[in-house]
C-alpha cells in the first residue's frame, strides 16, 4: 500500500492570486527515496508542508493527502507527530532546548512517553548517529553540520516511518552536506525509512534517489525514475538542469543524445567517447592577464592571529595580495581561518604580528570609521544582519539605477518575506549603495539556487570590470571556477596554493569542480562544464573530419 497518496491537490494562500499548487497527484511507496526539485517559488515547500499535519499552511485547499489510507488532517495528534518526521532548512532555529540530550528527548517528552523508555530510545539514537561524544554539550557549541544531524536524530528518536526534508543541506558547507546526505541514505537503506526530500543542490542526491519529481509553478512537470526524467528535461532546455550534477549539464550541452550520465563516473565514460586528440583549449593559456599591472587593493603580509593567548594560531603567516578590479575567491575547509581573514581585513580583529594594507596604506592608519567610508564593503554570511527597515525600498534609499543589477522587483516587500536568493541580492545591493572599492563577501552563494548563483557571479564580474575589487570566501568550487580571476586555497591559516581558476582547479584533486574531476588526466585545464563541452565538441568535429577524409 502506498504510504502517501496525494490526489488532485490544489492549494492557494489566502490573498494569493495564483495557485501555489495545482492538481498535484502522486503516490509515495514505503521505503522509497523521492527527490522533489524545482526553482524557488515552484511550490516545493508548500507541497512538503501539506504532507505534515502540524505544518499544513492555512489557505484554500482542494484534494486530499492520504497517509496510510487516512487523511493526514484526521490522523490522531500524537500519531501524526511521531510517524511523519519533518526536518527544515535552518539548523539553528529548529533546535528548541539548550542541551543536546534534552533536544533528543524533546519529542518523546511531548508525546508523554515514560522516562525509562525515553532513556533507552535517546541512548540508542545517540549511538546510532555518533552523537555520544557531544551528548552532554550545549547546542551552541555545535557546528552547523552537527546541529542539522541533531535535528535529524531528534526526529528519528520518535521512530517515524517517513521523514520529509525541506532543503536540509542548503545552509551547510559541502563536506557537512555530503555527510548529511549519506546519513539520509543510510537511514533509507538500512532502516527502510521513507525519504521525501527537496533540495537545490542535486549533485549528490540524484544518483541516490528512486524517483525524481520536478515541480514548476505549482504543477508536477515530471515524475519518475531519475534518468528518464532528466533525459526528458534536457530535451526541453529547462532551467532546473542548471542544478543537476555536472555530468547531466555536460550531457545537455552536448545535445542530450543517448543515455544520460548521472554520476562523475558515468560522466567520465561519456567524455571518453569523444576521444582526446585535442587536449586543451588554446585560448585558455593567455586568460585574464590584463590585470597584472593594477596596484594592490588588499595585501596581507605575514599576518599572525589567535583568539587568545593560549589558543592556537588561526592565521599563521598569511601572505597574499589582491589587485584592484580582481575577483579573488578564497576556498578552504571549516576552521581554515576564512572568516577570521575577512574580519581582520576590516580591522574587527587585530593580528598580533604582520601587516595588512588597503590600497597601500596600513590598516591602522585608517582613523575611526574611515575604512568603511566608500572604501570597504562587507557582505556577511547571514544577510539578514544587514536589514534594519520594514521594506526593501527603505533599505535601498538612494539611486538604485546605479547598481550593476536590477532590484526593482523586490522593493515593496519586507526583506524577511523575500526568498533566500532575493535577500542575498537586496543585501548585496545595500552594501553596494555605499560604493565600496573593495567588496568582502562571506559565502555569497550559500543556500542559493543555480540561477541566483549565476546572477551573483555575473554581478561580481561586472564589479571587477568597473574596478571594484571582490574578495569572496566560499566553499563553492563550481562558482569560483566560473567567476573568479584568481583563487586561493586557505589551509590552517595560510594560503597554500594560488592561481587562476583554470590552473588552480586542474591541479587540485579534491577541492575542485566536477568538470575537472571528469576530465582529469584526459583533457588539460577543463574546469567548467562549458570548457569541457568545448573540448568535447572540438574532438567530435575532429573525428567527423577524419571520417570524411578517411
Amino acid at each position: 500500500m502506498a504510504l502517501f497518496d496525494v490526489k488532485n491537490l490544489s492549494f492557494k494562500y489566502p490573498g494569493g492570486h495564483e495557485h501555489a499548487l495545482e492538481d498535484v497527484s502522486f503516490c509515495v511507496n514505503k521505503g522509497e527515496f523521492v527527490v522533489v526539485c524545482g526553482d524557488t517559488g515552484s511550490g516545493k515547500t508548500t507541497l512538503l508542508r501539506l504532507l505534515k499535519k502540524e505544518l499544513s499552511p492555512m489557505g484554500e485547499k482542494r484534494g486530499n493527502v492520504l497517509f496510510e489510507g487516512q487523511d493526514v488532517l484526521e490522523l490522531p495528534e500524537r500519531e501524526a507527530a511521531g510517524k511523519i518526521g519533518y526536518v527544515m532548512q535552518a539548523p539553528e532555529q529548529q533546535i528548541v532546548t539548550d542541551k543536546v540530550w534534552h533536544e533528543l528527548a524533546f519529542g518523546l517528552e511531548n508525546l508523554g512517553v515514560p522516562k525509562d523508555v525515553i532513556a533507552r530510545r535517546v541512548a540508542e539514537t545517540a549511538s546510532y548517529f555518533g552523537i555520544e561524544n557531544w551528548y552532554d554539550k550545549d547546542v551552541n557549541e555545535l557546528s552547523g553540520g552537527q546541529k542539522q544531524l541533531l535535528n535529524l536524530a531528534a526526529v528519528m528518536v520518535m521512530n517515524p516511518s517517513v521523514i520529509i526534508f525541506d532543503e536540509p543541506t542548503s545552509r551547510l558547507d559541502p563536506i557537512a552536506a555530503s555527510n548529511f546526505i549519506s546519513t539520509i541514505k543510510k537511514l533509507n537503506e538500512n532502516l527502510g525509512i521513507t525519504v521525501i526530500i527537496s533540495e537545490h543542490r542535486l549533485e549528490e542526491l540524484i544518483p541516490l534517489c528512486d524517483r525524481l519529481m520536478v515541480l514548476r509553478n505549482g504543477k508536477v512537470v515530471s515524475l519518475g525514475e531519475p534518468r528518464e526524467v532528466i533525459e526528458g528535461l534536457c530535451g526541453e532546455k529547462d532551467g532546473i538542469v542548471e542544478a543537476m550534477p555536472g555530468a547531466v549539464r555536460l550531457y545537455r550541452e552536448m545535445g542530450a543524445e543517448g543515455r544520460c550520465p548521472l554520476t562523475v563516473k558515468e560522466g567520465r565514460g561519456f567524455v571518453e567517447n569523444f576521444g582526446n586528440r585535442v587536449c586543451s583549449l588554446p585560448e585558455k593559456n593567455k586568460e585574464k592577464i590584463e590585470k597584472k599591472d593594477e596596484k594592490y587593493a588588499l595585501e596581507f603580509k605575514n599576518v599572525f592571529f589567535r583568539y587568545g593567548k593560549n589558543l592556537p594560531d588561526v592565521l599563521k603567516d598569511l601572505d597574499f595580495f589582491v589587485r584592484q578590479g580582481e575577483v579573488f575567491c578564497v576556498l578552504g575547509g571549516n576552521g581554515a581561518g576564512k572568516s577570521t581573514m575577512l574580519l581582520s581585513a576590516m580591522s574587527f580583529l587585530r593580528p598580533y604580528s604582520g601587516e595588512i594594507r588597503v590600497f597601500d596604506k596600513k590598516l591602522r592608519d585608517y582613523r575611526g570609521q574611515s575604512l568603511f567610508d566608500n572604501l570597504v564593503g562587507f557582505l556577511p554570511q547571514n544577510v539578514q544582519t544587514l536589514f534594519l527597515k520594514d521594506t526593501a525600498k527603505e533599505e535601498l534609499a538612494g539611486d538604485i539605477t546605479a547598481l550593476p543589477f536590477d532590484v526593482a522587483g523586490y522593493l515593496s516587500k519586507h526583506p524577511y518575506d523575500l526568498s533566500g536568493g532575493e535577500q542575498q541580492l537586496v543585501g548585496l545591493a545595500k552594501v553596494l549603495m555605499q560604493k565600496p572599492k573593495i567588496l568582502l563577501a562571506d559565502e555569497p552563494t550559500k543556500g542559493l539556487d543555480a540561477a541566483k548563483k549565476r546572477e551573483i557571479g555575473n554581478i561580481f564580474r561586472k564589479l571587477g570590470e568597473q574596478g571594484v575589487t571582490v574578495v569572496a570566501v566560499t566553499h563553492d568550487a563550481e562558482f569560483a571556477a566560473e567567476f573568479a580571476d584568481r583563487c586561493g586555497l586557505l589551509f590552517k591559516g595560510k594560503i597554500v596554493a594560488e592561481a587562476t581558476p583554470h590552473k588552480f582547479f586542474a591541479e587540485n584533486n579534491y577541492y575542485t569542480t566536477s568538470a575537472a574531476v571528469m576530465s582529469k588526466g584526459y583533457y588539460d585545464g577543463a574546469v567548467t562544464i562549458a570548457d569541457l563541452a568545448k573540448l568535447c565538441r572540438l574532438n567530435e568535429s575532429g573525428n567527423v573530419k577524419d571520417g570524411v577524409s578517411g
Binding site: 505534515k52 502540524e54 532546548t97 525515553i118 551552541n140 574587527f348 567610508d373
Partner: protein, 293 residues
Amino acid sequence: MRAFGDYNPRITAIYFAIIIGISMLCMNPVLQCLSFLGGLLYFVISDEDGLRLKTHAFYGAVFLITALINPLVSHNGVTVLLVVNDNPITLEAVIYGVFAALAIVTALYWFRCFSGVMTSDKLLYICGGLSPRISLVISMSLRFVPLFRRHYREVRLAQTALGVYKDETFGSRLKGGVAVFSSMVTWALENGIVTADSMTARGYGTGRRSFFSDYKVRKNDLIMLFIVVCLGVVTILSIAVGALTVDFYPAFCWKGLSGWSVSGVVAFGLLCFIPVFVEIGEKIKWHFLTLKI
C-alpha cells in the same frame, strides 16, 4: 569518582538551602565562623578558581568595606572606643559589623559553590519535577540568550561595515543602536516561527508532557538526605529554643553553655563540613582505587 556535587540535585539543593538559610538568618558568631570555614574550604578544594588569589581578594574587600561601614553609621552600644566628629564608635557596633560582614562573605562563598555544582541540567531537573512546562521555558531561554547575543554581534559588525556608526557622534551611535535593537526584535520573532514549527512538528502541545532526565535517587542520596535533615533539624531546634541567641546591643551578651547550645553548634559544624568530608573521603578512596589500576 563521586564528589559532593554528584549527589542527586534535589538533595544538594536542600543542603544549600539549609546552610545558606541558617547562615544568613542566625547571627551567632560561632555558627558564622563554622559556616564561613566550611564554605571557604569547600570552595578551595572543589572549585577550579579555589586557589586564585584574585577571587579571595575580592571577597576580602567586600568583608572589609561592610565591616567598616557598620560602626560608622550605627552608634548603638555601651563601650565607646573613640569619638569621631562627635560620633561615638562603639565596640559593639564594631563586633556586629565584623560578623555581619562575615555573614555576607560566607553567603557569597556558599553561593559560589552552589553555582559551581548546580549546572543548568540540574536546575532543570529540579524544576522539571515541579513543572515540566517551567523547565522547558527555562531550557529554551538558556538556548536563546547565547543565540541572541551572537546574532547581535553579527548585526553590529555588519552595520559597522555599512557605515552606520560612521559619524562617531553620540547621536548617530544612539540612532544606530536603536535601529539595531529593533532589527533584533524582528529577527527574533521571525526565527521564533521556525522554532515554533519545529516544536509542533514534534508533537508539542498534544497533551501532557513527560519529563526526561538522567538523574536517579540512589541509596547514598537517601542516606545523605537523612543526615542533612537530622543535623538541620537539631540546629534549627536549638536556634528556636533560643539557646544560640546572641545580643550585640546594647552590650554583647550570650546565653552561656547548655545542652541545647552545644548540640546545636556540633550539629551545625558537622553540617557545614559535610561537603569537605565527602570531597576528601572521595579523594582518599580514589587514591586507593587508582593503586589497583
